[in-house]
C-alpha cells in the first residue's frame, strides 16, 4: 500500500512541472512585446519600461525561467500589476468563498445524487427510475445561470426566505453562511447531481447483476445491506472518479455562479484579472487551479486503494 501511495505522489511531480513550464511560456510566447500587451494601447514608453523591469522581461529567457521557478518554489507568485499586492495574498483572500462553496456543493451533490442513483437502479424500470432519469435530463439541459435566477426568484424574491446575493464567511456562523451559500451551491450542484445520479445508476445496475449480490441475498441479508455495503462499495470507484473530476472542474468553473450571486471568490478574481490583463495574477490562478486538480486526482487515486483491495499492489 505504501509503495502505491509513494508512486502516485511521485507521479504528480512531473505533471506540475509541465504546468509550470506552460504557464511560464504563456506570456513569453504571445506574439509581439509582452509588455505592450500588458500595458495596452495607451501606454507611454516609461510605463512599458517599468513593466519590463518588474517582470524581468529584459533578461534572456532561460534566466527569466530560472528566476521564476526559484521564486515559485519559495512561494512567491509575483505581484499584481493592478493592485500591486502579492498574487498569493490575492488568491488566499478569495480562496475561502470559492472553496467553501465548492465543498458545500459537493456535499449536496453526494447526499442527493447517490441515493437517487441507488434507488433508481434498485427499482430499475419503475416510476422512481423514470423520475430520476427525467430529473437528470432536466439538470443537464438547463443552463447554470437560468437555474440560479429561478432559485433566486422563488426562494429569495417570492418567498423571501433567503437573501438574494452575497457571501458570509463560515467564521461568522454556520446559519448565516448557509443562508447565503445554499442557493449558489444548489445552482452549481444541479448539473453534478444530474451527472452523478446517472453515473451511480449505471454503475449500480452493473453491480446489481453480479454474482456476489445474489450471494448476499442468498445469505438472507437485509436489502439495505445488500445495496449499500455489497453493491455500492463495488460501484464506488467510477462514481468517485466523476465526483473528483467534477469537483476539480467546479473550482475553475465557478465564474458564472459567482457572478450571478455576486460572491467575491476566485471566479471573480479570474474575470477581473483577465479583463485587466493582470498577467501575474492569471499565471498564479492557473498554477493554483492546476495544483488543485492534481491534488484532487491524487486523493481519488489514493482513495481507490481504500475502496478496492485489488488496487493495493
Amino acid at each position: 500500500m505504501f509503495g502505491y501511495f509513494l508512486r502516485r505522489i511521485l507521479a504528480a511531480i512531473p505533471v506540475m512541472a509541465v504546468v509550470a513550464l506552460f504557464v511560464f511560456l504563456l506570456l513569453r510566447l504571445t506574439p509581439g512585446d509582452p509588455a505592450a500587451i500588458i500595458a495596452g494601447d495607451m501606454a507611454t514608453p516609461e510605463q512599458l519600461e517599468r513593466i519590463r523591469v518588474t517582470l524581468g522581461l529584459h533578461q534572456p529567457i532561460h534566466v527569466q525561467f530560472i528566476t521564476w521557478v526559484q521564486r515559485l518554489l519559495s512561494g512567491d507568485f509575483g505581484v499584481s500589476l493592478l493592485s500591486n499586492k502579492p498574487v498569493t495574498t490575492l488568491i488566499s483572500q478569495r480562496l475561502e468563498p470559492t472553496i467553501s462553496l465548492a465543498l458545500l456543493t459537493i456535499f449536496l451533490t453526494i447526499i442527493i445524487s447517490v441515493p437517487m442513483g441507488v434507488l433508481a437502479a434498485w427499482r430499475h424500470g419503475s416510476w422512481i427510475d423514470n423520475m430520476v432519469m427525467s430529473a437528470s435530463v432536466l439538470g443537464f439541459s438547463i443552463p447554470v445561470f437560468v437555474i440560479g435566477y429561478i432559485l433566486i426568484q422563488i426562494f429569495a424574491l417570492n418567498l423571501g426566505l433567503l437573501p438574494v446575493q452575497g457571501f458570509t464567511s463560515i467564521s461568522k456562523g454556520v446559519v448565516p453562511f448557509l443562508e447565503r451559500a445554499i442557493l449558489p451551491a444548489l445552482t452549481l450542484a444541479s448539473i453534478y447531481i444530474a451527472l452523478i445520479a446517472r453515473m451511480t445508476r449505471a454503475a449500480m445496475l452493473d453491480v446489481l447483476g453480479e454474482d456476489y449480490v445474489r450471494t448476499a441475498r442468498a445469505k438472507g441479508l437485509d436489502e439495505k445491506i445488500v445495496l449499500f455495503r455489497h453493491a455500492l462499495r463495488n460501484a464506488a470507484v467510477p462514481i468517485l472518479t466523476v465526483i473528483g473530476t467534477g469537483f476539480a472542474l467546479m473550482i475553475s468553473g465557478v465564474v458564472v455562479t459567482e457572478s450571478v450571486f455576486n460572491i467575491p471568490g476566485l471566479g471573480r478574481l479570474t474575470v477581473d484579472a483577465i479583463l485587466a490583463r493582470d498577467y501575474p495574477v492569471i499565471q498564479g490562478l492557473i498554477l493554483f487551479t492546476s495544483g488543485i486538480y492534481v491534488l484532487i486526482n491524487l486523493l481519488i487515486d489514493l482513495s481507490y486503494a481504500f475502496l478496492d483491495p485489488r488496487i493495493r499492489y
Binding site: 441475498r217 445469505k219 438472507g220 441479508l221 437485509d222 445491506i225 455489497h230 463495488n234 483491495p309
Partner: protein
C-alpha cells in the same frame, strides 16, 4: 454410495408442479410443472444441458428469481412443509442461510471482492443470530477449520483474490453451512474448478453432509459428477423433468431417449484408436520455449513468474497434439507464444521449418495466415456487429483474396461446417452456441492454415454439442490435412481427439507422448493424479455400465 436416511416425516424439500414463465407481454414457459422431492440427508442431482431450467428451479426455491425477468405462475415449493412461494419477503430472508443455503458455480464472482472473506461469513451470523462479535469470530474460525482451510487466521483476513479457487469455494461452503441449514443447493459448484480441486470439493460436500445431515440439491451438467455424488438423479430437458431414478438405475438402464443421448455423448476416458501417420512433415516445432513474465518496480525487487519453462513440442501435418493441464499450468501461454500473440522470452518456434520467433511484424505477416485460432467462448470471439460473412471473409481479403472469391469461399466453408449458406448475411446472436463455434471454425479455416490452435474450443459447449463439434474437427482434419494444437483441461475430450498428449504442470511439460500411452499407462505421478481425479472415472457412460476392474460407482473410497 451412502444409504439415504429415510425419515418418516415430511421431506426436506418438495417441489410440486412448479411452473415459471418469463414476465412481460408475451410470457414464454421456462419450467413446465416440475415436481421433485428430497429426503433428509439425501443428495439429488438435477442434470441437464444449458437452458434446461436447472438453475431456475434452484433460484425459484431460494426466492431469488430476477423479478423483472421471470415469474412463478403456479406450483408449490415446500421446505419442511412450509410453502416458500407463499412466504413473505421477510420470512424468506429469515429462512435463507438458516434452513436453506446455496453455493454457486464461480466462487470468484460469488464472493464480494472488496470485503474480507472472514467478514463475509460473519455477515451470516450478524443477520441471523444475536452472538457477540467475539463469539461470531470464534464460530467463523471453527467453521473455516471445519471446511479444512489451512492457516485460518490469515485466510480470515484475506480478500477473495488472494485465495485459490478451491479455497474460495470452501469459504462459500463455510458460509452456506455455518448455521446448519437443512437444505443445501449447490449450483454447478465444481464446474469452474480444476479436476483435482473438484474432487476435493465434492469430497468435502459429502463429508459435511453426512456429518450435519444436510440434504443436497446438486445441479450439474456433468454425468461424471453425477456418478460420483448423487443418490438420486432427475434429468431435465426444456423445463421438464424427463426422467427420475436412483443413480444406478439412470446410468445403467435409462428409459428415455434424451437420457440415453446425454450418456452416449459423454466422451470416454479411453483414448481413440491410434491413427497412422500420413505425413512426416513437421509443421510446427517448439524448441526450448521459455516465457517469463516480470514486473518491474522502482521500489520492490523484480518479481518473475515463469509461465513456460523449456517447452519442446512437435506437431506433424494432419495430426492433433493435445496440451492438457490445470489452470495456470502454462498451456495457453505456450499456444499464444506459438502464434506470436505474445512474445516468447527465449526459444524457437518453427512453422514449416521457418523460424518465426524473431521475425519482425511485417516479416511475420505471411506466417500469421498459417496458424489460426479457435477460442473458448464463441459468444465473445465473434464480433456481434459484423455479419457472419464479414467475420469469415475479413482474413482472406486482408491477404489479398478478392471480395467475391472470399464470399464464395465463405459460403462453401459454412456448408462444410454444417450451416446453411444463407447464414452468411446473419449476425452471431441469431445462432446457438454450437453453431457459433462452427462459424468460428469456418473463420479459422478460411485462411487455409497449416495449424489450428483450439484453446478450450469445446469447453463452453454442452456435451451433445461438444461431441458434434469434435466430430466436425475430425472430419475437417481428414479433408484439409490441417494439424491441430488442442488445449484442454478435460482429459475425456483429449482422449477423444488427440494423437499425442503433452501434460503440463507449473509451466513444464512433465509427460509427452502418444495419447494411448500417456492416458492409459501414465508414467508421472501428476498425470495419474489428473486421471484419477476425472469425475465418474469408474463408468463407461456410453455403454451404460461401470468399467470393469475398477472402483465401484459413486463413492470416494480413496
Amino acid at each position: 454410495m451412502s444409504e439415504p436416511i429415510v425419515e418418516q416425516s415430511v421431506p426436506v424439500l418438495r417441489i410440486e408442479d412448479l411452473t415459471v414463465e418469463t414476465s412481460g407481454a408475451r410470457p414464454a414457459p421456462i419450467l413446465n410443472g416440475i415436481s421433485l422431492e428430497i429426503g433428509g440427508g439425501e443428495t439429488v442431482c438435477l442434470v441437464g444441458e444449458s437452458g434446461s431450467g436447472k438453475s431456475v428451479t434452484s433460484l425459484a426455491t431460494m426466492g431469488l428469481l430476477p423479478k423483472s425477468a421471470l415469474a412463478v405462475c403456479q406450483g408449490h415449493v415446500l421446505l419442511e412443509g412450509e410453502d416458500l412461494l407463499r412466504a413473505s419477503a421477510a420470512r424468506l430472508k429469515e429462512l435463507r442461510a438458516t434452513r436453506m443455503s446455496m453455493i454457486f458455480q464461480e466462487p470468484m464472482t460469488a464472493l464480494n471482492p472488496v470485503l474480507t472473506v472472514g467478514y463475509q461469513i460473519e455477515e451470516v451470523l450478524q443477520a441471523h443470530s444475536n452472538l457477540s462479535s467475539l463469539e461470531q469470530r470464534q464460530l467463523v474460525m471453527e467453521m473455516m477449520e471445519h471446511v479444512h482451510l489451512p492457516d485460518v487466521k490469515r485466510i480470515h483476513g484475506s480478500y477473495p483474490h488472494q485465495l485459490s479457487g478451491g479455497q474460495r469455494q470452501r469459504i462459500m461452503i463455510a458460509m452456506a453451512l455455518i448455521l446448519r441449514p437443512k437444505l443445501l443447493i449447490a449450483d454447478e459448484p465444481t464446474t469452474a474448478l480444476d479436476v483435482t480441486t473438484q474432487r476435493q470439493i465434492l469430497k468435502l460436500i459429502r463429508e459435511l453432509q453426512s456429518e450435519l445431515g444436510t440434504s443436497v440439491l446438486f445441479i450439474t451438467h456433468d454425468m461424471g459428477v453425477v456418478a460420483d455424488i448423487a443418490d438420486r438423479v432427475c434429468v431435465m430437458h426444456n423445463g421438464r423433468i424427463v426422467e427420475e431414478g436412483s443413480t444406478n438405475a439412470i446410468l445403467r438402464t435409462p428409459r428415455q431417449d434424451y437420457t440415453r443421448d446425454l450418456l452416449t455423448a459423454v466422451p470416454a476416458l479411453t483414448p481413440r484408436e491410434p491413427r497412422n501417420e500420413t505425413s512426416r512433415e513437421a509443421i510446427l516445432e517448439i524448441v526450448d520455449l521459455v516465457k517469463i513474465y516480470s514486473t518491474k518496480s522502482l521500489f520492490k525487487p523484480r518479481r518473475e513468474t515463469v509461465a513456460a519453462e523449456k517447452v519442446n513440442l512437435m506437431l506433424r501435418r494432419g495430426r492433433t497434439l493435445g496440451i492438457v493441464g490445470e489452470s495456470g499450468s502454462g498451456k495457453s501461454t505456450v499456444a499464444r507464444c506459438a502464434m506470436r500473440l505474445i512474445e516468447p522470452t527465449s526459444g524457437s518456434i518453427r512453422v514449416g521449418g521457418q523460424e518465426i520467433s524473431n521475425l519482425s511484424r511485417s516479416a511475420l505477416h505471411p506466417y500469421r495466415k498459417r496458424i489460426q485460432m479457435i477460442f473458448q467462448d464463441p459468444n465473445r470471439s465473434l464480433n456481434p456487429r459484423l455479419t457472419v460473412g464479414e467475420s469469415i471473409t475479413e482474413g482472406p481479403v486482408n491477404y489479398g483474396l478478392s471480395k467475391s472469391d472470399a464470399i464464395a469461399k465463405a459460403k462453401e466453408l459454412l456448408e462444410l461446417v454444417g450451416l446453411p449458406a444463407d447464414a452468411i448475411d446473419r449476425h452471431p446472436h441469431q445462432f446457438s452456441g454450437g453453431q457459433r463455434q462452427r462459424i468460428a471454425i469456418a473463420r479459422a479455416l478460411a485462411m487455409e492454415p497449416d495449424v489450428l490452435v483450439a484453446d478450450e474450443a469445446v469447453s463452453a459447449l454442452d456435451v451433445s454439442v461438444q461431441a458434434q463439434v469434435l466430430d466436425l474437427l475430425d472430419d475437417l482434419q481428414e479433408r484439409f490435412k490441417v494439424a491441430i494444437l488442442f488445449i484442454t483441461h478435460d482429459l475425456r475430450v483429449a482422449a477423444q481427439i488427440c494423437d499425442d498428449v503433452a501434460v503440463m504442470q507449473n509451466g513444464r511439460v512433465i509427460e509427452y507422448g502418444p495419447a494411448e500411452r500417456v492416458l492409459q499407462y501414465p508414467q508421472q505421478e501428476y498425470t495419474r493424479e489428473l486421471l484419477d481425479a476425472a469425475p465418474g472415472k469408474g463408468w463407461d457412460f456410453p455403454n451404460f455400465r461401470p468399467l470393469p476392474a475398477n472402483t465401484p460407482t459413486g463413492s470416494f473410497n480413496q
